[in-house]
């Protein structure tokens, strides 16, 4: 067996080596879960500037990067706080140019998926019948209306988007970069295949044999992967299937805390700049973090993937008790 190049580096190294200022970065491609928040925090600590973000629904990861002044452009379907409401930093940037103005190209989830799929297929665009006639299609500025030469029907052509780097958070990865993700994929695979290179943030380092025993679960071939970061808990406050649940309350705390510029700055100091890395962040979360892991690991990892049939069917677990939630802000956009 050939030994592959060991690509395991620290989160900080992965940013230093592979994400220059101005890079086009796809992030949060599984929609609400598996968002590599720890990576976003590292981009803030590394003071990256002029990033061009690509993603469908990034929950507050995009908002955080915008608030920290890291972002010049956004291609996204949705920028907000999914369970808590609007995204304050995004609002300030767009409404007041604070901390800086940004260029936004509006997408839908389908159009952002198609743009990445087009790049993954090596095609210049993919035609669709979604979004026709909308202001969204017009305002995006990169789409084109065209008539299908096959049946004369109207279509909207969605051009390919090729990220410089796609960052994927996954449950496990081997040192070569063979990364396996289960639960929602969203647009993750297209984003990875479309990118010039991929950074994998894995909850766990897997033996090479483990990924090779189930290649259907590998999301992208290792040769597209430039760096592997092994970091448990990298997605908090978003969830990672079979590893830890979503920290709903944390999103609401972020929402309340970032209502003002001062509040945002304090939040970033407390949760990003004053912490050296994700391990310190998880230690700061303390019992709260342990509880999220317990909630999601009631089912043993892998139970989900056993191929038992008929005689030994797995029985579904009953509902888990939810912890009571504090009252949340009713302000809320769509979705």
């Amino acid at each position: 067996m050939t030994e592959g190049r060991n690509k395991v580096v620290t989160m900080a190294e992965s940013v230093r080596r592979h994400v220059p200022d101005g890079a086009r970065v796809a992030l949060g491609c599984a929609l609400e879960p598996a968002i590599p928040f720890a990576f976003a925090h590292e981009l803030v600590r590394a003071r990256r500037r002029d990033l061009r973000l690509v993603g469908p629904i990034s929950d507050v990861a995009f908002d955080l990067l915008i608030g920290a002044g890291c972002v010049a452009e956004v291609d996204a379907a949705w920028v907000g706080n999914v369970s808590a409401g609007l995204a304050h930093c995004y609002r300030r940037a767009m409404e007041q140019g604070i901390p800086r103005g940004i260029v936004v190209r509006d997408h839908s989830n389908f159009s952002i998926g198609l743009s990445l799929l087009a790049a993954a297929l090596g095609s210049p665009y993919i035609p669709t019948r979604s979004l026709l006639g909308t202001d969204l299609a017009r305002a995006n500025g990169t789409f084109r209306e065209a008539t299908s030469p096959f049946d004369g029907s109207k279509t909207l052509l969605i051009p390919a988007i090729e990220p410089d780097v796609t960052v994927l958070a996954v449950q496990r990865c081997d040192e070569d970069g063979n990364a396996q993700l289960w639960g929602p994929w969203g647009v993750s695979q297209e984003a990875a295949l479309a990118a010039k290179q991929v950074i994998v943030v894995a909850d766990e380092l897997a033996e090479r044999e483990v990924v090779r025993a189930d290649p259907n679960r590998t999301i992208v071939p290792a040769f597209k992967v430039a760096a592997v970061v092994i970091q448990s808990g990298a997605c908090h406050p978003s969830p990672l299937q079979d590893r830890y649940d979503r920290d709903h309350e944390f999103f609401h705390e972020y929402h309340r805390a970032t209502r003002t510029v001062e509040g945002f700055d304090a939040w970033v100091r407390e949760w990003v700049l004053d912490l050296p890395d994700r391990d310190a962040y998880l230690a700061k979360l303390g019992d709260r973090w342990e509880a999220l892991c317990r909630r999601e690991q009631v089912r043993p990892p892998g139970a989900q993937t056993e191929a038992k049939t008929r005689s030994s069917a797995l029985r579904a677990q009953g509902p888990l008790p939810l912890e009571p939630l504090a009252r949340v802000d009713p302000e809320r956009g769509s979705e």
């Binding site: 026709l132 909308t134 639960g183 649940d245 956009g333 769509s334």
Partner: protein
């Protein structure tokens, strides 16, 4: 415990789901409407979620986002967003739910930005998510909105998700194949679309035609047979309150 507008909306939304339908569920109240429909008159409805998830039974727990782990456990299909959106584009999804910051008389929704210039908005909203796709492509559409004069406008500032458009036949002319909005459910009443225009069909218990007229930003049209919205049954309220005991989605101000 008083019945909240959220609970009335959920009950009404559930009635809009027919048995056996494929439902693009979406977040918040529609999520609970899907639970109610499945447990009452529509046991064979199937739920689709834009992450790429298909479920034939609702998540056993309240969801805060569609991507919460309980929504994946017990799903029957977990694929890619484009695969799921493709089903929508092929016309295989019967009904979709959407909501927004603003809606107009024609069912067009704005979830992008308030103000005349998208590049310099008065209020920056989160954007489409999957909403614009659902509105473009589902066979019919259920719109859910908080009722507020600033939100129910003659024309929205920005059409994120297409309704019936500025004039009759607009959807067909621009090339949209989905049917557009069939109903608008607000915190005060229920509108049906007639030739693409929202017409008040019922007012919720506690509301009235006059109050709705006062809080609607367009010249209200009222159905001849306008009546009070049927309140949620005890069974439905039990399901709603059992599923969302803290009232996270059903007791907020929308």
């Amino acid at each position: 415990m008083n019945v909240t507008p959220g609970e009335i909306m959920v009950a009404q939304a559930a009635r809009e789901i027919r048995d056996g339908e494929r439902v693009f569920v979406g977040m918040r109240l529609p999520l609970i409407a899907f639970v109610v429909a499945k447990r009452t008159h529509a046991p064979n409805a199937v739920g689709l979620f834009e992450l790429g998830i298909v479920r034939d039974e609702p998540s056993p727990e309240l969801l805060y986002t569609m991507g919460d782990p309980p929504n994946v456990r017990g799903a029957t299909w977990c694929a890619r967003t484009v695969d799921l959106m493709g089903l929508l584009a092929r016309g295989e999804v019967d009904v979709g739910f959407i909501g927004g910051a603003e809606v107009d008389r024609r069912g067009d929704l704005n979830t992008t930005a308030i103000g005349p210039d998208r590049a310099h908005p008065t209020v920056q909203l989160p954007g489409s998510g999957g909403g614009a796709d659902i509105a473009s492509l589902a066979k019919r559409l259920i719109v859910i909105m908080p009722h507020d004069k600033r939100r129910l406008r003659e024309r929205v500032d920005f059409v994120t998700t297409p309704g019936h458009g500025p004039e009759r036949g607009w959807r067909g002319r621009v090339g949209l194949r989905g049917g557009g909005p069939s109903v608008l459910i607000t915190t005060l009443g229920v509108f049906r679309f007639v030739d693409g225009d929202a017409v008040l069909a019922s007012y919720h218990p506690g509301a009235s035609v006059e109050r709705i007229r006062a809080e609607t930003g367009w010249d209200l049209r009222v159905a001849d047979d306008v009546r009070e919205t049927e309140p949620p049954s005890h069974t439905v309220l039990t399901i709603v309150r059992g599923y969302d005991p803290q009232g996270f989605w059903t007791r907020r101000g929308e």
